[in-house]
Amino acid sequence: MKSVNLNSQERMQFSCSVHLRLFAWMMCFALLILSILCTPVSAQSLVSGDVTDAMSGIAIPGVQVTLKRGANTIGTSYSDSDGGFDVTIPAEVARNNTELKVILEHEKYAGNSLRIHMDGGSPSETHYKASLIPKEISVCRIFDRHYVVVGHFLSSMSATYTGLPERIATALTYEVLPLLQQYKIKPELQPDFLACDEARPRAVTQGRSLAQALGADAFVSGSVQGGEQGYDVRTFVSDRCDIYSVPFSSINKNVDLNDPGAAQLDPHTRATILVAIAAAYEKEGKYSDGVYATNAAEHTLGKLTPEIQAVRERCQMGLPQVGLVR
């Protein structure tokens, strides 16, 4: 064995070199730990949201929230007293970026579901909003169809007008359907107009969430008030696709409620409903039908509103015909 004698300067150099190496190793180790901690592989994503009553807008506690991938349940939770919920997405599921579904169930409400699109291991939205419809108005729901619900008309008087939604739905059927049929919208895409007096939103602003919860393209409701010579019938239209930030409102003044003409809606209201239907077509990828529905809206109103124009442009951007334009 050979021994080496070092002088003080050499000893100092050797000591520095050892410390530097040690420091470098420690840094590498720290970076390794940090990178492991930061790797999404080990992160568990969350689906967060809140759930409210579609008619009143009030939070619903105790809703069972089930996260599903296909038929398999991969997580469950319950909404808290504020209606908020979180469900954990297992890491191995999050990694696959597959589409997930959240099922919302409560004994007093009709079930609802949310589609969760995964993007980079996390849900594409940070917070989901869902609303449930009370079981008594689940009769107002039609599955796999485009439809418009005509709900309850509030009355400031003692008399109630339960027949008004039925008559308005009938009037809309024969006013709006032929308009869409003129543009050859296929029967399976044409909307139904469903009278549903059970749908009684607490405020007109709830119309949108009701439309969303029911899966209807639009929700129509209103009020009846005594006027100078007859009654003033006010109508509100809310759409599912957020085209109108506040419900569209129109008024028929001095109406004789026994007169069948009371159920007629003005062209603005019909155009608003057509725009809502066009937006629903657009959301479904039926772009040409969306364009034609906006043409029907423009035709019925006699002018182009910013809403009609906006929905039309969105539909046009989805058309393959865009490739023909330069």
């Binding site: 039609i142 169809r145 439809y147 009938t170 009037a171 059927t173 024969y174 359907l177 032929p178 049929q181 003129q182 543009y183 050859k184 029967p187 044409q190 139904d192 469903l194 007169d259 069948p260 003409g261 007629q264 772009y287 040409s288 364009v291 034609y292 043409n295 423009e298 035709h299 006699g302 002018k303 182009l304 046009q316 058309l319 393959p320 015909q321 865009v322 490739g323 023909l324 334009v325 330069r326």
Partner: protein
């Protein structure tokens, strides 16, 4: 033998002249549709050459006028369209959807239109508005006459020889939307009563022979002034008025029937259109102007006919789009997207190209004299003649600047975004882009056209 043959021909012609008929079907619409589903189909009035169908007007608020208005429309077409060998079929029943998945209105009518082999169908609806009623009348052409309502012309071989086309649009038309005062509630039933009364002589004060039962087949045997002599199958014969039975608002209502009768005559080649009048819709006006413009492009004798077509198209589109009351007819033209979607943009494109072709032919023939200063008679031949007659060689060597064609195509492509399923536009874009040297867009237009056609 020769004399006998001539007599036979005369008899046959007389028969075809006299065999206008109106038939009632006592089968409700929905029962008829169910029969069709089961494969049971027997057309009504098989002996007549041309058929139209009239449906009882939708009457959701029970004014009681639905069937009466249909009878008036049917008789107006039968008696006053001057079409030989015509059958008018009348149907009763509702067109509104029975259940949420059932067919309704135009879609329901379309199935019967097809099954009964009619040229077009007329239906409508009655909507009470305060003390008055609004009556909407729709006309729906059958698919089978698509070719009769089409216009085509081929480009010269030097331009690729592609065929440009146009069809009448829309095919589902709101002919009239009219608000009638409260008197009409008595005028219409009175008019129908007068129509159903058969008299011994063609005079209002002549003795009444019988009342025409509903749901029976009648034939028009002869005419005299404002009267027609009807023969009811297995029943009485007598005179009934063909004019003057409808006054006031009721008369305005008949404008829809009058216009429809003119369309029928035009479609089957037995005469010309009738002008749209103030009580009709802007869709009726658009149809009238489309037919006029397209006929002028292909059958006009002067280049000014084509420039007039261009002007007509531009009344509906572009910066010179007219709106408000039309000077000639009094019809409100509306504004924005015209009836028929891209139909007028397509006519504009065809007119521009036809104009350039005419101009080129003229320049060749007249030693390049500027056509814009030429008097009209300088252009005596129809464009059609250039395609198929002695001038054919001259025509085939014409070409128009590809840059100009590209501009036309780009303009038309924008219009296609408003009417994406318009097959004429896609076909024409494929032809025009190919000539202008943009094969990519030509292929896209062709592919889209095929795709849409396969889905129809």
């Amino acid at each position: 033998m020769k004399i006998l043959r001539i007599i036979f021909i005369v008899l046959a012609l007389s028969f075809s002249y006299l065999s206008s008929a109106m038939a009632g079907r006592d089968v409700p619409i929905d029962v008829r549709l169910r029969l069709l589903d089961k494969g049971g189909n027997q057309i009504s009035l098989p002996w007549v050459k041309h058929r139209v169908a009239i449906f009882a007007y939708e009457d959701p608020e029970n004014t009681g006028l639905g069937e009466d208005i249909a009878i008036l429309m049917g008789r107006e077409i039968l008696y006053n369209s001057n079409v030989y060998s015509l059958g008018v079929l009348s149907f009763t029943g509702e067109l509104s959807p029975e259940t949420y998945k059932s067919l309704s209105y135009f879609d329901k009518v379309e199935n019967i239109t097809k099954a009964e082999d009619v040229i077009f169908s007329i239906w409508g609806r009655i909507i009470p508005v305060g003390d008055s009623v609004r009556v909407d009348t729709f006309l729906q052409f059958a698919e089978k006459i698509e070719d009769r309502l089409s216009w085509k012309f081929r480009l010269p071989f030097s331009m690729g020889g592609g065929v440009l086309q146009a069809h009448l649009r829309p095919k589902r038309i709101l002919i009239q939307s009219i608000r009638l005062d409260t008197d009409v509630k008595s005028e219409i039933p009175n008019a129908v009563k007068a129509l159903r009364t058969l008299r011994r002589k063609p005079k209002m004060n002549a003795k009444v022979v019988a009342s025409i039962p509903l749901q029976k087949t009648y034939s028009v045997e002869k005419e005299e002034g404002d009267w027609v002599f009807l023969s009811i199958k297995s029943g009485p014969k007598g005179w009934t008025p063909r004019a003057g039975y409808c006054t006031g608002s009721c008369k305005q209502l008949l404008e829809a029937g009058r216009f429809s009768g003119g369309l029928l005559r035009y479609v089957i080649g037995q005469g010309s259109l009738r002008d749209a009048t103030a009580s009709l819709s802007n869709e009726a006006l658009a149809i009238e102007e489309q037919i006029g413009a397209l006929d002028s492009i292909l059958r006009g004798t002067k280049i000014t006919d084509i420039s007039r077509s261009l002007e007509v198209a531009q009344r509906w589109i572009g910066p010179n789009r007219l709106s408000g009351k039309d000077e000639r007819t009094g019809i409100d033209r509306g504004n924005g997207t015209p009836p028929g979607g891209a139909a007028f943009a397509n006519i504009e494109a065809l007119a521009k190209i036809a104009y350039e072709l005419h101009k080129s032919i003229y320049h060749r023939r007249e030693h390049r004299i500027d056509l814009s200063h030429a008097p009209e008679p300088f252009y005596p031949r129809r464009m059609y003649d250039y395609f198929y007659t002695t001038e054919i060689k001259d025509f085939e060597s014409i070409d128009i600047s590809p840059h100009y064609i590209m501009r036309i195509a780009n303009h038309l492509a924008k219009a296609s975004l408003l009417d994406p399923n318009n097959l004429d536009v896609l076909n024409n874009l494929a032809v025009l882009f190919a000539y202008a040297g943009d094969q990519g867009r030509a292929n896209l237009a062709m592919g889209l056209g095929k795709e849409i056609k396969s889905k129809e």
